[in-house]
């Protein structure tokens, strides 16, 4: 609900333009003061799987850090006295030693011993009710009354017991990338300077069709307390503008629906509010956000973050661009693809072709008709080349077909 009600955030655009005055501008943050704290993020699910807890630390405003914390001791306890140990999988990522699932009726708490010696313990967290995704579907539609057109991914879910109420969504989207100017062959260097020679041969690896997977990074929540029944109906989890090239061929999305406690919902909601757009005329009162993980020693700073137990349900969806946009032009490719034909050698003895191949800037597309110079290059070589991104899909994704991938 907040998503819509709290929005006076667009007002500043109007005031800017109404008065033809520029009012909101980005600026470089300067670190005024730095507060160091431990950040703990962890969700234990009701699925029997390897559970993961992330431990990191804050860093100054004007820096960007890989902030994972190594060497922490992580464990989860349930209210029956069960203890689940975790070991560091990679920096800051702690995986449970064995797969386990949260059991309804129990409560769980997290304990993290930071390398500094400080210990953080979460509140006892119960396991919420369970609701499964009934339907995950895609529809073509308009956003903001026609301002944008594209694909909506909707979720329907229903909990007849009415106990779930607070939902959070995460997704992983995977899309097929086809290099628009891929050729089967590639140029290779036979000899370098001063007498560069080149040849062509078949490509050694898959570079035409690739896949890329991106995880959601926004807070997507819905609560059904204002609705008739505990029913999530046509909830837009994701919107993709039709100009976005990820729609071009085949697209798949895995949507995970987490049922969470009211406290967890409130935590994420506040986190989103504090990081959301602002209204020019009424700035939300910001302040510190309290999680549920506290320092064991009273005088120490509490950890930032929230430990939660969720029930999870997931569904995957596939669709092709032509399913929804038959006969319509594809979205523009992510990059401009203009042909070049670098000469083999130029006055002064340099070889543009060699340099651009060595730096990986271009890919072979086809032989160039040097007799006619159909593209009217002022200088040209034997090959017609394209920027690497246009001829090699591995720039944008992975050439391995994901396990779950299904073609029509």
């Amino acid at each position: 609900m907040q998503r819509r009600i709290g929005v006076i955030k667009y007002i500043f655009y109007s005031s800017c333009l109404l008065m033809a005055i520029n009012c909101v501008e980005p600026f470089e943050v300067e670190s005024a003061e730095f507060k160091s704290a431990v950040v703990i993020e962890g969700t234990i699910t009701d699925r029997n799987e390897t559970q993961r807890i992330l431990v990191s630390q804050t860093f100054p405003l004007d820096t960007v850090l890989m902030s994972g914390v190594s060497g922490a001791g992580v464990s989860v306890r349930d209210s029956n006295g069960g203890v689940y140990g975790f070991t560091e999988e990679e920096t800051g990522v702690y995986a449970s030693n064995a797969p386990f699932a949260a059991t309804a009726g129990l409560t769980y708490s997290l304990r993290v011993e930071a390398p500094s010696g400080k210990t953080y313990i979460s509140e006892q967290v119960p396991v919420p009710a369970n609701a499964t995704i009934d339907n995950l579907y895609a529809e073509r539609g308009f956003k903001d009354g026609g301002a944008e057109e594209g694909m909506f991914i909707y979720v329907d879910s229903y909990d007849p017991t009415g106990a779930s109420k607070y939902y959070r969504y995460e997704y992983e989207e995977t899309y097929k990338i086809i290099a628009p100017f891929w050729g089967p062959a590639d140029v290779y260097v036979i000899s370098g300077l001063p007498n560069p020679e080149f040849g062509t041969r078949a490509r050694e690896k898959e570079e035409q069709v690739c896949f890329n997977t991106i995880k959601s990074n926004t807070i997507i929540q819905e609560n059904t307390t204002a609705f008739d029944g505990d029913r999530v109906s046509k909830f837009p989890v994701r919107f993709i503008n039709r100009e976005n090239y990820i729609l071009s061929h085949r697209y798949s999305i895995l949507v995970k629906q987490y049922v969470q406690t009211r406290e967890a919902f409130a935590y994420y909601e506040t986190l989103e509010k504090l990081s959301g757009s602002e209204s020019l005329f009424s700035q939300l009162q910001t302040g510190s956000l309290e999680g549920n993980i506290y320092a064991e020693t009273e005088d120490d700073e509490n950890a930032i973050g929230f430990f939660q137990v969720s029930t999870v349900s997931e569904q995957r969806l596939f669709f092709d661009y032509v399913d929804f946009f038959p006969g319509e032009r594809l979205p523009d490719f992510v990059s401009d693809c203009s042909f070049v034909s670098p000469p083999t050698i130029v006055e002064g003895g340099a070889s543009p072709l060699l340099t651009s191949i060595e730096f990986g800037l271009v890919k072979f597309y086809e032989d160039y008709d040097t007799a006619n110079n159909p593209l009217n290059f002022s200088e040209y070589g034997p090959y017609l080349m394209v920027p690497t991104i246009c001829g090699d899909c591995t720039v944008l994704g992975s050439n391995e077909v994901p396990d779950f991938w299904v073609e029509d």
Binding site: S15, S275, E278, Q283
Partner: protein, 922 residues
């Protein structure tokens, strides 16, 4: 009257140079015309005379002055003439014929009783206001009529007879009270009573009777008296000669009244002040006075002496106006042409007012001109204003109509920006006020007001809010000592949001607060020493805290309505304005206020001494309709005292305490139109505040300059604040999100004000601090470890200058300069990764400040010509807001976009904004 500038040198004369008025002069005149004498004086001194040449024709003077002061010379020269002189200031002397101009208004100017006899005055005097006005008495020697009275009776040997009669206004049958009727040359006379009747002994034979009264055209009647008889007068009002009577009776009010910390702004006088987009805005002008500020440029709501924005009692003709602004506070919702004045009481609060901790903003609308139709209109770049005054019953009642509207909706629609093409923003307000003077004892005033704002920026939602006010006031004078008013007022404020999106979650959401007040107030002039004010009031609140309704078919939204809140607020008050001595004046008042939350209600009771949340809810108690759920109340002390330290110099002290039972719910740093209001209930206690103040007041140069220095210290309790990120709309259990804490504020305010002259305006400087403390034994109810921290509107240094310089009668230049310390903000102190995104950790509340604020505005005003008979009087205002182009940050904020942290700074008018406005008046 014409100003003479010709310089002619004549006679001989030596002057001791100097600009002082009391310079000694030497002259010798031989049958010189008075006109030339005046010119000679003008030449030798800096003095300028103002007079009508006609009066001087034929007047001559012979004589010699050695080292005489100017006063003495003029007195001697004018001795044998009908001329008087009046020193307007050091350099200007106004000559009058017959009349004497008085610096002060006579006693009884406002209808107080006057003695029946007329003092022995050789020539009668027309009392007029001390400001130069072109009042012109009719020629005394012009005898309008000759009346024969009585039938001659030869046997009657009396030498004097009694005449009587009545004086009325020509064509209106209105009695003229206090009309002086003087028997020429006999030093006797009388005055008419309240009903216009008089009796007078006159000698037999021919006499001349002259009449005079303020505002009545003088008359002379030749009477030939043969016997007792009747003589009636039908006289014209002389107001037609006056464009306006500018009453400056209370020029020294700031020094003399007991109340401290009060400011008054007359809207007409603020018209030269340059303001953004040409909107004459008395509320914005008020923020240039010490102690009154806003959280930021364009922010709605006022912070008075370190108080929050919900602590101001905003009254428009006695009705509370909840949101007196349009477009988030950029524009005021008051029509400048219908608003007469604004009185801000920020220090001592009279016992009559209550219910808000910080201040009273008493906005009064004009009473319509009941003589002739008048109007005013302005065309500006954003809005147009119009006001009309229509007499209904001539001389008795009039109707005031005002309207304003904007064309900004059109501007938004015409923008190229595609995403804004469906956007709209529009607002308007309208006022109607009827004033009826039934007789000199009864006046009735009725006012209705409506303002509306609507805007939609995204095409799927429309926001709207409106104010609706009614008020009715009946003033009644029981007798000369006792008067009273009965006031009934109703205010209604609501907002709503209509959302029509793509999926099936369309809704309409809204909020309404409605209050109706009945108030009786009385003034009893017990004696010269005691003046009592007393009264009582009762106010009924009806609040609809929020409703959510599905919109259209197929909306899955469940209707949700937060139960209505009702409450009754009542108060009794009594105060005595006690003149202890000539020097000491005390205004001592007590107000007892009571508040009762009424059913129907479900009162939630939480475990004692525990944070309020779902888990600590113990039980819910149901109350039936009108059943009392909770009561609060207590005495409020209102004490002010003034002690005169000398001529135009006083010291004042005040103490007052107040309760506030209604609170604004806002989780933003500045207020927004979708903030709701909440009544106190069993979980939310009333706010309580007390203030002590001490001030020094000095007027200089005949009240031309007012200087004041005031200090105050305030303490308040149960101030309402909220947990971070709390959800206030549609929240049934608002008490789980609220925090109540202590406040303290103190400050020193300096103001120097020059009210007239070529250069006028004011300069104010304030040093003030304002703190809040939110402490609890539970971490979740604590902010900044339970220590005092600066409030969002704590701006220690605040300097404002508002100046206006008249180049000529028609052209004037004006300027504003504002400097303020940047307001406190909560700034991030670290960032971290979470949920594949970057977020920030915020500092303690209000630990940092945005950069200081300063701004200069300039304006140039052109008045149309001043011909009296012109149909319309025009006024152009060309102004540039923020001439320096200072990019004053309004806020800084941090947003996570696509998982990356972005920092933004917003400002409102970051470049100079030029405006031209055309006003006309008829």
């Amino acid at each position: 009257m014409k100003r003479l500038l010709r310089l002619i040198v004549l006679c001989y004369g030596t002057a001791l140079f100097g600009q002082e008025y009391d310079v000694k002069l030497s002259f010798g005149f031989e049958d010189e015309t008075v006109e030339n004498i005046l010119k000679a004086i003008e030449l030798e001194t800096n003095v300028m005379f103002y007079y009508d040449e006609k009066w001087l024709s034929g007047l001559t003077y012979s004589g010699r002055f050695e080292e005489e002061p100017l006063d003495g010379i003029l007195e001697t020269v004018f001795n044998e003439t009908e001329l008087n002189f009046f020193k307007l200031d050091d350099t200007r002397i106004i000559l009058t014929r017959h009349n004497i101009i008085y610096r002060d208004l006579p006693e009884g100017f406002f209808g107080k009783e006057q003695t029946d006899s007329v003092t022995d005055t050789p020539a009668f005097r027309v009392y007029t206001n001390p400001v130069f006005s072109n009042i012109e008495a009719s020629d005394k020697k012009t005898i309008a009529r000759t009346v024969r009275i009585g039938k001659e009776n030869l046997s009657d040997s009396r030498t004097s007879y009694e005449i009587n009669g009545r004086a009325i206004l020509k064509g209106q049958n209105q009695p003229i009270a206090n009309l002086s009727i003087i028997l020429d040359g006999k030093n006797t006379g009388t005055a008419t009573n309240d009903a216009g009747y008089y009796e007078l002994q006159v000698p037999a034979g021919t006499s001349i009777l002259t009449t005079s009264s303020l505002g009545i055209e003088p008359s002379s009647t030749r009477i030939i008296v043969y016997n007792d008889g009747e003589l009636n007068f039908e006289l014209n009002e002389s107001v037609e000669f006056l464009d306006e009577v500018i009453v400056e009776a209370d020029a020294a009010k700031n020094v003399e009244e007991a109340l401290s910390g009060s400011n008054e702004l007359v809207v007409e006088e603020t018209k030269n002040i340059p303001l953004v987009l040409g909107e004459r805005d008395v509320l914005k002008v008020a923020t240039t006075l010490p102690g009154i500020s806003t959280a930021g440029e364009g922010a709605a709501g006022f912070n008075v002496r370190g108080g929050s924005t919900d602590q101001n009692l905003m009254l428009l003709d006695n009705a509370v106006i909840y949101n007196p602004s349009h477009f988030f506070g950029i524009f005021q919702a008051l029509n400048p042409f219908t608003t007469k004045d604004l009185k801000v009481l920020k220090g001592g609060m009279p016992a009559e007012y209550g219910g808000r901790l910080s201040s009273v903003f008493d906005i009064t609308s004009k009473d319509a001109n009941n003589e002739k139709i008048a109007g005013e209109a302005a065309i500006g770049p954003v809005t147009s204003n119009v006001a009309l005054e229509i007499p209904i019953v001539k001389g008795k009642s009039g109707l005031l109509l005002g309207g304003r509207g904007t064309y900004s909706g059109w501007i938004l629609r015409s923008l190229k920006e595609e995403s804004l093409q469906n956007s709209e923003a529009s607002f308007y307000d309208a006022i109607v006020k009827y004033t009826h003077e039934i007789d000199d004892k009864n006046t009735i005033k009725g006012m209705g007001y409506y303002s509306n704002d609507a805007f939609s920026i995204t095409s799927d939602s429309i926001y709207g809010y409106n104010n609706r006010l009614f008020s009715l006031q009946w003033d009644h004078r029981f007798n000369d000592k006792h008067s009273g008013s009965m006031i009934v007022a109703n205010s209604n404020y609501r907002f709503n949001i209509d959302y029509e999106g793509n999926s099936d979650t369309d809704f309409e959401l809204g909020f309404v607060v409605d209050e109706t007040e009945a108030k009786f107030k009385f003034t009893y002039l017990h004696s010269d020493v005691h003046k009592f004010d007393y009264g009582l009031s009762a106010k009924l609140y009806n609040v609809q805290p929020g409703y959510l309704e599905p919109k259209g078919n197929g909306s899955a939204i469940t209707p949700k309505t937060i139960p209505k809140e009702r409450a009754l607020e009542a108060a009794l008050y009594l105060s005595d304005n006690f003149k202890v001595s000539d020097k000491l004046l005390i205004d001592a008042g007590i107000r007892y206020s009571m508040f009762a939350t009424l059913g129907e209600a479900e009162a939630r009771i939480y475990e004692e001494n525990m944070p309020k949340n779902e888990e600590t809810l113990e039980e819910t108690v149901s109350y039936g309709n009108n059943e009392i759920v909770e009561t609060y109340g207590g005495p409020e002390i209102r004490l002010s005292a003034r002690y005169l330290l000398g001529d135009n110099f006083s010291i004042k002290a005040s103490y007052n305490s107040t309760y506030q039972y209604i609170h604004r719910l806002s989780n933003t740093t500045t207020i927004s139109p979708i903030d709701t209001w909440k009544l106190s209930d069993n979980n939310i206690k009333p706010q309580k505040g007390s203030q002590v103040g001490l001030g020094l007041y000095k007027n200089l140069d005949g009240n031309l300059y007012e200087i004041s220095l005031e200090g105050y210290y305030k303490e308040s309790d149960n101030l309402l604040d909220f947990k971070v990120g709390s959800e206030l709309l549609l929240n049934e259990t608002i008490e789980t999100e609220t925090l109540q804490g202590e406040g303290k504020a103190y400050g020193l305010e300096f103001l120097v004000r020059k009210n007239s002259g070529r250069l006028n305006g004011w300069l104010g400087y304030t040093y003030a601090r304002s703190f809040l403390k939110l402490d609890s034994e539970f971490a979740e109810e604590r902010v900044n470890n339970g220590d005092f921290f600066p409030t969002n509107y704590d701006k220690p240094h605040d300097l404002s200058a508002v100046l206006n310089y008249k180049l000529t009668k028609r052209f004037s230049l004006s300027a504003n300069f504002i400097y303020q310390t940047g307001r406190p903000v909560t700034y991030p102190v670290a960032r971290y990764n979470y949920n594949n995104s970057e977020y920030v950790v915020y500092s303690d509340r209000n630990e940092f400040r945005i950069p200081d604020y300063y701004r200069l505005d300039l304006g140039f005003n052109i008045e149309g010509n001043h011909k009296l008979k012109k149909f319309a009087h025009s006024f152009w205002n060309i102004s540039v807001y923020n001439v320096l182009g200072r990019n004053n940050p309004y806020s800084v904020f941090f947003v996570t976009e696509n998982g990356e942290l972005k920092a933004y700074q917003s400002s409102i008018f970051s470049i100079p904004v030029p405006t031209i406005t055309y006003n006309f008046k008829f």
